[in-house]
Symmetry: C2
Subunit: 345 residues, 2 copies
């Protein structure tokens, strides 16, 4: 320990305390100054800021959080970030939440209820200011009682669970599929299949319902052989289109639960020697980026994840500000975007 050592030796612990000592002021002053509170003199604020910078101070949010009961964390629970629709949702959420100085704590759980339970519990332990989540396939009301009990402001996104008194923002799933059917009927189709959509998910149920209702609106008969429920994956789409093609009489068109399913279906069609947009009509749902670029370009129902994300963030922030708000529901309209995968019968 020879002389000439400088202050940088123990720079591992730069706290308010350290700054306060260096400046011979109190930690209270430093705290206030750093947060720009105008109760401390402009000159002091400046000095504090400079020294903090110089000492390499970094705010400790755990400490602040413990003290204030605000973590500036928004937890988000979704099944799959790999699904482009949800990836986009996640992106928007991050943007929106970042704008008000909060950060996203992420948890994914596939479609497993059990993992969802674990993830939700862990997320809660970080004391997020709020949480936005998309209930896993098959979720039951009881899965969320402890979340509700925690009183953490929560908003359900895209999917809801029946009877849960949380905010919800989603799309008009029923109406979306209706639009798709309308379009196909206009094109002259009479035998229209429905591919994908889990009955254990609100989006699945609502889109399936949209299918049935639209059919009956057009005086078409519901045929169980034309519907292949399942997860919203490419794989399912590919397998399901094959199954549906076995029906007699054959369908001439299909609406899909999602674009991913539609992509799978178009591929399955090709395996069966058919081509979407020629021998068979396909309409997707979501309008992910890839949809416009496919060949044939996918006719689909646009669901606008950006709007979803924006509104979810707004709901959450207002609820954080005022937890007493009654639960709200926002259902965004879908819109048909006509491209090349659906053609006259």
């Amino acid at each position: 320990m020879h002389g000439g050592n400088d202050e940088r030796v123990d720079q591992g612990r730069v706290t308010l305390q350290a700054i306060a000592e260096r400046l011979s002021v109190s930690t209270a002053t430093v705290s206030l100054a750093l947060r720009g509170n105008s109760v401390v003199a402009e000159a002091t604020r400046e000095r504090v800021r400079r020294v903090a910078e110089e000492m390499g101070y970094v705010y400790n949010r755990s400490a602040a959080s413990l003290r204030t009961d605000r973590s500036q964390i928004v937890a988000v629970g979704i099944h799959d970030v790999t699904n482009p629709y949800f990836a986009e949702l996640l992106g928007v959420l991050d943007e929106q939440v970042g704008e008000v100085g909060r950060s996203l704590l992420l948890g994914t759980y596939g479609e497993s209820r059990e993992r969802q339970q674990r993830v939700l519990r862990t997320l809660k332990e970080y004391r997020p200011d709020g949480i936005v989540f998309c209930p896993a396939d098959g979720s039951l009301l009881e899965d969320f009682v402890s979340l509700a009990a925690s009183r953490i402001p929560a908003v359900q996104i895209a999917r809801y669970v029946e009877g849960l008194a949380f905010d919800f923002v989603g799309c008009d799933d029923c109406g979306a599929i209706g639009l798709g059917i309308d379009h196909l009927v206009e094109l002259g189709h009479r035998r229209i299949a429905m591919i994908g959509g889990s009955e254990r998910t609100s989006t699945g149920r609502d889109r399936l319902r949209g299918y049935r209702e639209a059919l009956s609106r057009h005086g078409l008969q519901y045929d169980r052989a034309l519907v292949q429920t399942g997860h919203g994956t490419r794989d399912h789409g590919m397998r399901a289109i094959g199954a549906v093609l076995q029906a007699d009489p054959k369908p001439t068109a299909a609406v899909c639960f999602s674009d991913l399913v539609a992509f799978g279906a178009m591929l399955g069609l090709r395996h069966a020697g058919l081509e979407a947009g020629q021998d068979f009509s396909i309409v997707g749902c979501d309008d992910v980026a890839e949809a416009a670029l496919w060949f044939p370009a996918l006719t689909t129902l646009r669901l606008k994840p950006r709007d979803l994300g924006r509104h979810a963030a707004a709901f959450l922030h207002s609820r954080i500000a005022n937890p007493a708000l009654p639960p709200r529901r926002l259902v965004l309209p879908a819109e048909l975007v006509v491209r090349a995968s659906a053609v006259p019968a």
Copy 2:
């Protein structure tokens, strides 16, 4: 305030303290018991656990974090979750990190250095146990001095910045493109374009280098008119293919910086009246899920984001355990997957 009120009245504050009082033991015992420490009697542990459960206790990680200097948070900074390659990376990271009881704190910054600065600073404030990030386009060494000074275990993923003494795990970008060129040359192509890849990114530079080196390896001449650098987006791919088609003599094939670029390029080709896999050959890079499903199915270089994510997590965890480790570099090999978008000249 009539009688019959039960304990659930103020359930807002269930702390170790509260449990301890209820059981007439100390908070230390409760803490130990809840964490399953075998120093407390099995019977006590059980009692504590039951009461905690019953009272709706939820662990407060801010408090623990403050005390232990461990947050169980892994911060991740990336430019874009909407890019399927990075979405997949994110998904794997979440899985891996979850397995050892940590959670992901997410920050995105587009390709903006400035946003990256803000995001990194915020992430640090949560005192993550570690951080994995992909440097934004144009990042400079100086952008990370404060991260380095913070001594938070860090690993760079996919892209690295020259001279940064952090761990790195990425792909053999140079070799990947080389494989692509080899394939095209074997198919008889001599005029091969390169589309996408920013020079302000290690992946861009390395892939561009791979292009040049492979060309010269095959005795082909490097022609500036055949390379269109730019971001790894579909848009860029679509615009760039047009530009490259102006060259004289025309190229007969192109390697793309990424699958996204390749998708854009294939679309651009169509606009120009050409068809990939017939009149022109395209090879992508990444092998995202969509690549196999496109028409024509994309011949591409598989980069295995899952392996990347797994190794990054492993690097991080070992470094958290032992911060003194020297910086490591892991470069995963790429592999050619032949499909239908590249054909004989």
